[in-house]
């Protein structure tokens, strides 16, 4: 019995160490990002201490702002999960923006067409978004599996197809009485916003999306860590050929992984267009898909990491305006500071390299 327990403890310790290491790395990356942002503020003659003070106050100073931070983070959680999920299968999903658009379009279409009571309508809309996003990503997945078309190229192009599809569909079928450039307003019974939730957070934009997001963080974690499907997906990601010779169908898993990734991004679209926003505008490709890449990198491609990274990004986006208003930092510099923080935060892989090399060296000296 004893050796067995020892082995178990050892295993546990190994798991603990890896988890710790990943979070430490992400933390270091964030600190680096903040330092780089501070350096930029200094270079432009601003005080980074007051800058960051107002940035964080802007995102957290009252319940309304906390609510807005969470609301801003919600679509990012989904796009982050989407990118991370594909990453685990060795696929690079740059198309989360387009999948979001289609998910949003599907949800909007259902919401504006059906006049059902809220508790019945919302699940249908959310499901429509899931299906829309999933189908949108399944195509590049299939192209990759069948013809080896690189998914980066295919998903980028699908972004623009989505963009122009929305551009055509919304004014044609869902436009309001006057404007050619946006859909009708989403009625309350089709919106993810809930009056009680809005007033609980002092008029914030927080909506049911955050709970759906939390649910899917859990679902993604379970799929990846606890199911055969997740095991196969990851195996394909680690080594395609090894997975194949082990009897795992690589093609099936590529299509499946892209579909799930797309479905997640599509859900993000629903939370954005019928939750955070109140209608769908044409001519805008949401930036969430690209932020999602940074979120996934910072979150070490784990669902929980993505959750944390998204909230951090939501905080940055929400606090930025308050920082602008309270300091002399102009919006353009603030945008650059945000980009710098994100850039450095996303280099956690670089930090990891340096870390391992340093440890190897220290080990070598001894």
């Amino acid at each position: 019995m004893k050796p067995n327990t020892g082995k178990y403890v050892q295993q546990l310790r190994a798991i603990k160490v890896t988890i710790n290491k990943e979070y430490v790395l992400a933390f270091v990356a964030v600190i680096l990002g903040l330092l780089a942002g501070a350096a930029l503020m200094l270079l432009t003659g601003n005080n980074p201490v007051s800058g960051y003070y107002y940035l964080f106050r802007g995102g957290l100073m009252n319940v309304e702002r906390v609510g807005n931070t969470l609301a801003t983070a919600t679509p990012l959680i989904f796009t982050g999960l989407s990118v991370a999920f594909a990453f685990r299968t060795g696929l690079f999903n740059i198309g989360a923006s387009g999948q979001m658009l289609i998910g949003g379009l599907f949800a909007t279409a259902v919401g504006l067409t059906l006049d059902w009571p809220k508790p019945l309508l919302l699940p249908v809309m959310v499901f429509a978004a899931l299906v829309g996003g999933g189908l949108w990503a399944a195509l590049p997945g299939w192209l990759k599996a069948r013809f080896n078309v690189h998914e980066v190229v295919a998903t980028i192009m699908m972004n623009w197809i989505a963009y122009w599809t929305v551009f055509y569909t919304v004014p044609r079928y869902f436009k309001g009485p006057f404007l050619e450039t946006e859909s009708q307003r989403i009625p309350y019974n089709a919106s993810l916003k809930l009056n009680s939730l809005t007033s609980l957070f002092g008029g914030s934009y927080i909506n049911l999306g955050i709970f759906i997001a939390l649910l899917f963080v859990l679902i993604a974690a379970v799929i990846l860590e606890r199911t055969t499907l997740g095991y196969e997906l990851k195996a394909v990601g680690f080594n395609r050929h090894a997975a194949e010779s082990a009897g795992i169908s690589v093609n099936k898993n590529i299509i499946l992984s892209m579909t799930i990734a797309g479905a997640l991004a599509g859900l993000g679209g629903a939370t954005f267009y019928v939750g955070y926003a109140s209608n769908m505008q044409i001519g805008v490709l949401p930036s969430h898909g690209f932020d999602g890449i940074a979120v996934a990198l910072l979150g070490a491609n784990t669902p929980l990491g993505v959750l944390g990274a998204s909230v951090f990004f939501g905080l940055l986006h929400t606090g930025k305006g308050f920082m602008n208003a309270m300091t002399r930092i102009p919006p353009e510099i603030a945008d650059t500071v945000m980009a710098t923080i994100i850039y450095f935060a996303a280099t956690s892989i670089m930090v990891e390299r340096v870390w391992t090399r340093w440890r190897a060296k220290r080990g070598g000296v001894r």
Partner: protein, 366 residues
């Protein structure tokens, strides 16, 4: 190696903290966070596009800055992360929380945001340019702390069209619009009426084909503006009326490049006098004339009214030829004196009501 890195870090931190000390000392007092409640602080939230878009945002901001300098007011603009109602309200909230109680918002996209903000922040005042607050149902609700401002773009477009036709005498012209929204549509319809008026009354032969009337769909896609202009010029169009914000900047760039090569191409500017933007050699500009809206004047007037205690809250103001709210620039180096005289005559006829320009499409193109 490691020691070197540590030293570097240490040096960096030292320098950084020194710099922090310096800036915080020089910045004291002027940090914008002084709680001087009595003095008016004027804020602005930008619409899609940048503050230096050479048209809408810039015009508004120049008016704000002018008033700020004249009355010694603190001014600040914020740039929203996106273009949804939620993004706009977030930034309005940031300004209000930072003590900016007079807020100018350019663009119809602010309509629903201002509708909520005017109620939520009763001690703040709002100026909405090109739109009126409503709940999403287009029933105007202008509260006592809000002024909404409209311009007679059709009259401005008419004068620019008339000037273009008289100056060119014959040939093809085109129109590039940003989004297909009322202010841009009215520019287009007015422009076409100006061309028709010139041919009926002065025997000119300047026409526009349906294929050369295009709404690009955004206000910030510079590359697309350049491409559309290139296509039109290739088809033999001599002058393009670009009512498209940043898209128009692309068109101006294309015209400048062609003019440098000796081509005979022109752009009709929009919103502000864009002559300076079109200079390609010495003081030669490809801007024939500009269809102006006195946005800066409107913003300035409202701030002045507030300072004098006569803020026209609750009203919808209309800036037309009758109150010199629109027109073409006083100086147009590319127009002959004869053309200027004829345009001035038409301007006066509009002013005294003998000439009425339609603000609906009728038989006109798009």
């Amino acid at each position: 190696m490691f020691k070197k890195g540590l030293l570097f870090m240490l040096a960096f931190v030292l320098v950084a903290s020194m710099a922090v000390g310096c800036t915080s000392r020089t910045n004291t007092g002027g940090n914008g966070d002084g709680k001087s409640e009595d003095s008016l602080k004027v804020g602005m939230v930008t619409d899609a596009g940048t503050i230096d878009d050479k048209s809408f945002n810039q015009g508004t901001w120049e008016g704000v800055v002018k008033a700020g300098n004249e009355f010694g007011l603190e001014t600040r603009y914020l740039k929203p992360v996106g273009t949804t109602e939620a993004h706009y309200i977030t930034e309005i909230g940031n300004l209000v929380d930072a003590g900016y109680k007079f807020i100018v918002c350019p663009g119809f996209k602010f309509e629903t945001a201002i509708f909520q903000a005017q109620e939520r922040y009763p001690d703040a005042k709002f100026v909405l340019i090109d739109g009126y607050p409503h709940a999403g149902d287009w029933a105007p609700v202008v509260a006592a702390n809000t002024v909404s401002i409209f311009f007679a773009e059709h009259e401005s477009g008419f004068l620019a069209g008339l000037a273009t036709a008289l100056e060119l005498q014959e040939g093809e012209v085109g129109f590039i619009g940003g989004m297909e929204i009322p202010p841009v549509q009215k520019f287009n319809w007015g422009f076409q009426q100006g061309l028709l008026y010139a041919s009926e009354n002065f025997g000119t032969n300047v026409t526009v084909k349906a294929e050369n009337v295009i709404y690009q769909g955004t206000f910030d896609n510079v590359a697309a503006g350049q491409q559309l202009a290139a296509q039109m010029y290739d088809k033999g169009v001599k002058a393009i009326f670009a009512a498209a914000g940043g898209v128009g900047v692309g068109s101006i760039n294309e015209a400048k490049a062609r003019a440098k090569d000796g081509d005979d191409v022109w752009i009709v500017g929009v919103d502000v006098d864009q002559y300076a933007e079109g200079i390609y050699e010495g003081n030669k500009s490809i801007i024939l004339t500009s269809a102006m809206k006195q946005i800066d004047q409107a913003a300035y007037d409202m701030i002045k009214a507030e300072k004098e205690g006569v803020f026209p809250g609750g009203e919808i103001l209309l800036f037309t030829a009758a109150n010199d709210g629109i027109g073409i620039p006083k100086e147009n180096p590319n127009l002959s004196a004869d053309v200027m005289a004829k345009v001035a005559e038409a301007f006066n006829m509009i002013k005294n009501g003998t000439l009425v320009i339609s603000d609906v499409q009728g038989d006109l193109i798009k």
